[in-house]
Symmetry: D2
Subunit: 331 residues, 4 copies
């Protein structure tokens, strides 16, 4: 249940009321809101003097639902606009930061393509302890260097709560990976930050759980949340995962958060990435995450799914007319 | 293993050899072929005098694999060309034939849109015995009437082997439904027919099984096979199924059969069908199956997922520029 | 909705009423029943004079539901009792009939173990056309020979509608395989037979669909239906399928049909079959299907999952005390 | 690859070698081991003087594989023995610690049943921010109180890295929940602890990933790891999850860690828990986790799946003869 407080309610009063009625206090669109469980369907009569709008829900998709706020919640990061309905932001880069040389080559290529966001992992959430785990803090430093040198926005992943502060500090968009989607230590900390946050859907997670992960961040005060579909795990093993575009259609219909797609991780093989990226673009989504590496065959992680710079250039060129056909442009 | 017989081998000799070496005999691209299990990796030395090309395989995707024949196997049905790389054929119509009035209204609308193929079910493979099971033979007669009246190609489904003759007789494209994908009675009978055959992937079936179903038809002699992805069953329940576009990318890469997509059944809800259809079109596929009904709310089956005629017209109009962006046109 | 007609209603009147009210007419437990869709919640007032009990349902699990008939529907086949709550019937044999020698060896071993039902396939529903497809009619003849020689009940599979008559003729229990679960040609024909019918759950099929498949047979008049869980397809690939014992718990709670388990197909590897079979026995189920072959390594199908005769003997010996612990005995 | 150092190698030298050859250093069964990626198949020739046994692997299941160490790695916690092949340890309690009264009632009941391990969550990994999140530190204190009062071992869950120290401090067995299975912050910290660690398989996680999570803990030095199967997410929605007993058979065959089963979470409904628990017991597993609550209907979390004390007593009584039938006893 969301209770929208009357205009002019002070922040102090809003927080007092939230505490009194065991609610989260969120400042959203010029109003203070009290947010409680969706299982609550009746407001305490004592709230009446303060409240100007009440809405009940059938599940815990509340702040993120179009039934509460119809328009998409626009998230602006530097020059990138997510959710304005007019752009599809292409974020690209290698799976992992491996070296300064590597990351600079990709950064230059992005700028050359007119793209403004660099993606690359410093803390890699590998499933085996015996494989490359990322450069860690050193990787973050290299990303910051690229930011300064090329003016790029940085999106990078937090693996677990132990290095959340460093990632929030370094990133323009904090990526919560598929394997960390339920991590409340991360979600709540991001809720206290003013950085944009992109939550990747766990490969075994329902859409409902994805939006509820967003509600953790939003109820803690940070409404700058992006949702990312990156493929779910199914019985089919010819491809790495199964990109759930039906789920994207549902998100676009029911949820007011911008939607990002990651066809690289879904497919797992470079040969399918261009076709899938074009499909995602034609869906009219707010952003794309594409893996590109100067030398995919020798990448330290996810070698099979990263595009070469030339494949990437060809792909971006092919996206523009599709974006235009659905009223958007690539940026 | 496929053994391609030398040019000029007579049909009689080809069949004799097939019997002698326990192989299927298929006439493909001007050659007689002997096809055996992929577990066979060595040809009988006695075949040597007759054979000009031998290829072994790692699995039972043989005639349908691009490693055997690189170019897509084009299937022409009336004016519709599947697999020429230049067109995406839109096949549309209601889930079930319900009445002459209903099916005529849709047929007229297709012609008006410049589309040439009517889809509608007469034998419905429902999961419950207590729901509408289709008009059966009466439904086929109505479809034939539309064919004569409007010059439309007809694609309609065979539910089980008991009415396979009637469907082969009536249809231009015999649809083997998702629930009948393993039905060897149907597959083998279609292999003896010269009608085009579209095999829908079972919602619990792997891509490997789908191409192997095609191999049943092809090894029996009919190479005019289309494959259709219509959504697989996953843990996500917000949508009816999960459209597997990663799988489509795999099919396009590995398999030489034309690929058709059915976003209506995958999504299960009309609201998502336009976005998904645009995504499928941007993939560069050979055909689309779209459900449209004069009055979806009162449809006797699949009410929630059928478009209204107006929604369908708007959708088709929006597809043309996307098809063009990937070098195709809607037809 | 089920309408139970008053005692003494004649068969002729029952069928007339069924036709008049578009219902299935079923004779169940001494009463004629009219069965309609569960979406119908109000009986036609004109039925009132004939009806003594009306029950509505929330889904199309009707005749098979415990809410309609609480006790399990016992199915007796020769000396085997399925569903009496006191026995777990072990049905065993090779995946496929391969030769008279092979099938006789297994038959002798069953008799020696005090077991009364032989399972073996004559028509194999293989996914590839290039592998062993079963001996067909010849296989049925060998099974009948074993029946005569050893007094065993025969359970064997129908692959598609084209040979349903032969299988009904030969089998004591007609097995509808996982890949044929939706085949209405088979289901309806079995509904007109008086043979016991075992329906295997499709590996991509929900429990709801499984019981609805049973409703096809039951609404056509044959109430002698067994349900078999044999593993569903999931993302896990270390084992062939995932045996769904949670689903079995649901079936036991909600459905009045006897439940059979097939751990051999679920596991796909002989090493896990004994443990799983013991688990199934401890669930208190009505029957078990176990694959055993005189020489598994050289089996023509499913080589990896069949037990040796010695492994099978050891397994059966280990089941007895577990069955006893849950109030049953192996038979 | 695992390199077992010669007897008498000093700890210091072992660590020096590990650093020099980029390996993990683990003390296992009286030997120092150097563990590297399984992709390494050739030891550095310079290691030769120090090494007495080398084993290569095909995947990153190394320390936990039976091919490295055949016997199960026994884990002893107080009086409870996991993995000795003779006992099945029943760990029971409510989903969440709710109050002192509640947790004391259950503790008393456990002691009365002769059981030695209390399970209950203090930090609950809920998917929605708007539901009960557990008592946190207060919950841990109540668990410690029960430990002192009743002499029970405590198993409780860590939700994310932010409170890992408190849980390690309080628990006898640290439970890493299904949603935290990939959390390297937790896994590595547990690897430095001497507490037993139970890793629950994520509901979307493969068996391979589960054992690799264990390898994170083991390679960091802690070999006291238990694996828990608690149901995976599939397309079937009649039950909460699908308990993967085929997977358990695989774990028992391939992996040397004790296996625990949690039928309560898999089923999601109390009615199925007794049958499933009996099935698990007949599998011959090392432990069971069962949810029991003084008043399930009013539980603050997982109300539907918790047994009443009386149901629990009846269940435990029924397990003893089954355990005995497979050569074990309940403890």
């Amino acid at each position: 249940m969301i209770l929208q407080l009357k205009p002019g309610t002070s922040e102090q009063l809003a927080h007092e009321l939230a505490e009194r009625f065991s609610a989260f206090c969120v400042f959203d669109g010029g109003h203070f809101l009290l947010v409680t469980s969706s299982s609550q369907h009746q407001a305490d009569p004592e709230t009446e003097p303060y409240v100007e709008r009440i809405q009940t829900f059938t599940d815990d998709m509340q702040l993120s639902s179009r039934s509460w706020q119809k328009p998409t919640r626009e998230v602006i990061v530097g020059n990138s606009h997510f959710g304005n309905g007019k752009t599809t932001v292409v974020m690209a880069g290698p799976c992992s930061v491996e070296s300064e040389h590597q990351i600079r080559e990709i950064s230059g290529m992005l700028v050359e393509q007119g793209l403004g966001t660099l993606r690359a992992g410093a803390f890699k959430p590998r499933t085996s302890p015996y494989t490359f785990q990322g450069l860690g803090k050193k990787g973050l430093e290299l990303l910051l260097k690229m930011k300064q040198e090329f003016g790029l926005n940085i999106i990078t992943e937090v693996r677990d709560s132990t290095h959340i502060e460093e990632v929030i500090e370094a990133a323009d968009i904090v990526q919560i990976g598929a394997k960390a989607m339920y991590d409340q230590g991360i979600l709540r900390r991001c809720g206290k930050s003013d950085k944009a946050v992109m939550i990747k859907r766990g490969f075994g997670s329902t859409l409902q759980e994805l939006v509820q992960a967003a509600e953790f961040v939003m109820s803690a005060g940070n409404l700058r949340v992006l949702l990312c579909e990156r493929g779910i795990r199914t019985f089919e093993t010819k491809t790495r995962f199964t990109l759930d575009l039906c789920g994207v259609a549902w998100l676009k219909e029911k949820c007011n958060l911008p939607v990002i797609l990651d066809p690289s991780h879904a497919m797992g093989y470079a040969y399918g990435v261009p076709d899938l990226t074009r499909a995602c673009t034609a869906m009219g989504v707010d952003g794309l995450l594409i893996e590109v590496h100067p030398d995919p065959a020798n990448a330290l992680s996810d070698a099979s799914q990263q595009l070469t710079p030339q494949q990437f250039r060809d792909l971006v060129a092919s996206l523009q007319p599709i974006a235009q056909a659905v009223g958007r442009k690539i940026s």
